[in-house]
Subunit: 322 residues, 2 copies
């Protein structure tokens, strides 16, 4: 079977012919229809991840068939016993385990779920990692409630878009930020009530004058602007952090934190229970993940180039079999 | 009646003879036995507080009698409807309202509670503000559970000591920090399992090698060391912030936050429900607040000097009537 493999840090992936897989006691082989890329794949390719074992088939997201059943894969392996936090054996499909950028992938039976009927193969492959990460950030760690105001930063990324779709379905009032006016327009068209460009030096003022404060902020950036966002949080409000692309958080005021009884909460991936709840939510609300573009398996390196530029709006999907 | 009043920012308090108070519809006059000082009184005296109205009788903590009933006072006024956060009308007894450093104080009936029988007047006056702040930080915002490991910074302050006593009563394993070896010894004598001096450059290493990580940290400092404490938090753990004496928090890692699913939570004072629950806890466990020293009302300025030096271990109490 064919797989896109990383043989050397910093090199392009290679399309390789490797032996076909066989099921094991508690694991099944999925015949892949589509996979999807995540920022994680890029980091691993460039060595910015601990414990990289080579060669490896990358890819955490995917959908396909097994024994005639149409399925999607929960990419979180060995979460552990606590609902609060993943255990020490937790890892994500696609390094060190062999991932979804291949015609076949071997996954634990407990990680296999029915594909939502309303999703195409491309949409189904775009859902798992971003969906469970957004669901946990918004509902489990963020405790999101209908009618609350939520700000989602960096709209266009898979998690941010999923969080926006979930929040709108949950009847929250959603604002978004981006450095791209085009992405902001697309978010407004999808139902966001407000959208500001963070390159505008007055973006914080614009948000406060238009929307007042936010009950919840979902952020993946961190960095210098994080402490500005502290001023955007309503008393009793929460900021959930699921990424840190802009680096360390500076100048956080303890006084603002305690006087506003503010919560800043880290969130990553999700438990098996979170994944099931996310699927139920997606099925109930007929949510369709946003697919930015679709590449064939042999074109995965071109897809990785697109991922690097962060110009995408939604998920970059890899078609493996039609 | 006599009251210790602030007439001018930065000046000593003046013992003044002012008119006796009368009860109103929903307010009662307490004949004060003892009051206690808080850092807040010092800040107000030195103008480091918003909206200072002069002259004012300072003092948030107190115990006394009303209609023959022995009572203590909940210093939190007009908390509001939400249990999550105080409303816009919330304020603390003793500026702008006239405080407890007087022979009489007028307080809403709903803020008056039976004095715990096992407490002296001095101990009762030492309890309210520090007790409710510690209770909310530890149990409501911090979600403290028996057998968890908790680190309490800056032991010696009233809130930190109350938090330590509550945590020990709740069968938690408690470690403390201080810049004073004498305070550390006293905390160990009271039941802390570990105590480190933060002037020791290896204090973080000492804590991790001896205790591993902590499930909960209760901090009033903020500042540069806060990000070091991030490394002391177990996966799924919490840091509760109720003060910020060392200023803004720097170099907080979003990656550590999200990978450990960490919570950083602000906490201040407590709701009426928190106050009642704190009193029940103190009565159930027969907890006695630590009294550092007792001054007569006329000696309040000497007591304020002692407060400024932060050399105290426990509360500084003012005796008003015997």
């Amino acid at each position: 079977m064919r797989a896109m493999r990383l043989h050397e840090i910093g090199s392009p992936l290679k399309l390789s012919e490797i032996p076909s897989l066989a099921g094991e006691n508690d694991k099944v082989v999925i015949s892949m229809k589509c996979a999807a890329l995540n920022r994680r794949d890029y980091w691993i390719q460039h060595g910015q991840y601990p414990g990289i074992a080579l060669p490896v088939t990358l890819g955490s997201d995917g959908a396909g068939t097994t024994d005639g059943r149409e399925v999607i894969i929960n990419p979180g392996l060995n979460w552990g016993e606590s609902v609060r936090v993943q255990g020490p054996d937790f890892n994500i499909l696609g390094m060190p385990t062999q991932g979804t950028l291949a015609e076949e992938v071997l996954v634990p039976k407990e990680n296999v779920f029915d594909k939502p009927n309303h999703l195409s193969w491309e949409e189904a492959a775009a859902l798992p990692l971003a969906g469970v990460t957004a669901f946990r950030a918004l509902f489990i760690q963020g405790n999101a409630a209908p009618l609350e105001k939520v700000l989602i930063t960096g709209i266009g990324g898979g998690v941010a878009l999923a969080a926006m779709q979930f929040a709108i379905a949950h009847r929250m009032e959603v604002c978004v930020t981006s450095g791209s006016d085009d992405k902001l327009s697309r978010a407004l068209a999808m139902g966001a009530k407000g959208a500001v460009n963070y390159h505008d030096p007055d973006w914080i003022k614009t948000l406060t004058s238009t929307f007042g404060g936010f009950d919840l902020i979902i952020d993946s950036a961190g960095g210098e602007n994080f402490s500005l966002m502290q001023r955007l949080v309503n008393p009793g409000g929460r900021i959930v952090v699921y990424g840190g692309t802009l680096g360390k958080i500076q100048n956080l005021s303890p006084q603002v934190m305690y006087w506003r009884q503010m919560h800043i909460i880290g969130s990553t991936m999700g438990s098996p229970k979170d994944f099931s709840a996310m699927l139920l939510f997606v099925n109930t609300h007929h949510i369709k993940p946003v697919v930015d573009s679709v590449f064939d398996l042999a074109e995965t390196n071109a897809a990785m180039d697109k991922l690097r530029e962060s110009a995408q709006f939604g998920k970059i999907v890899i078609r493996i079999a039609s």
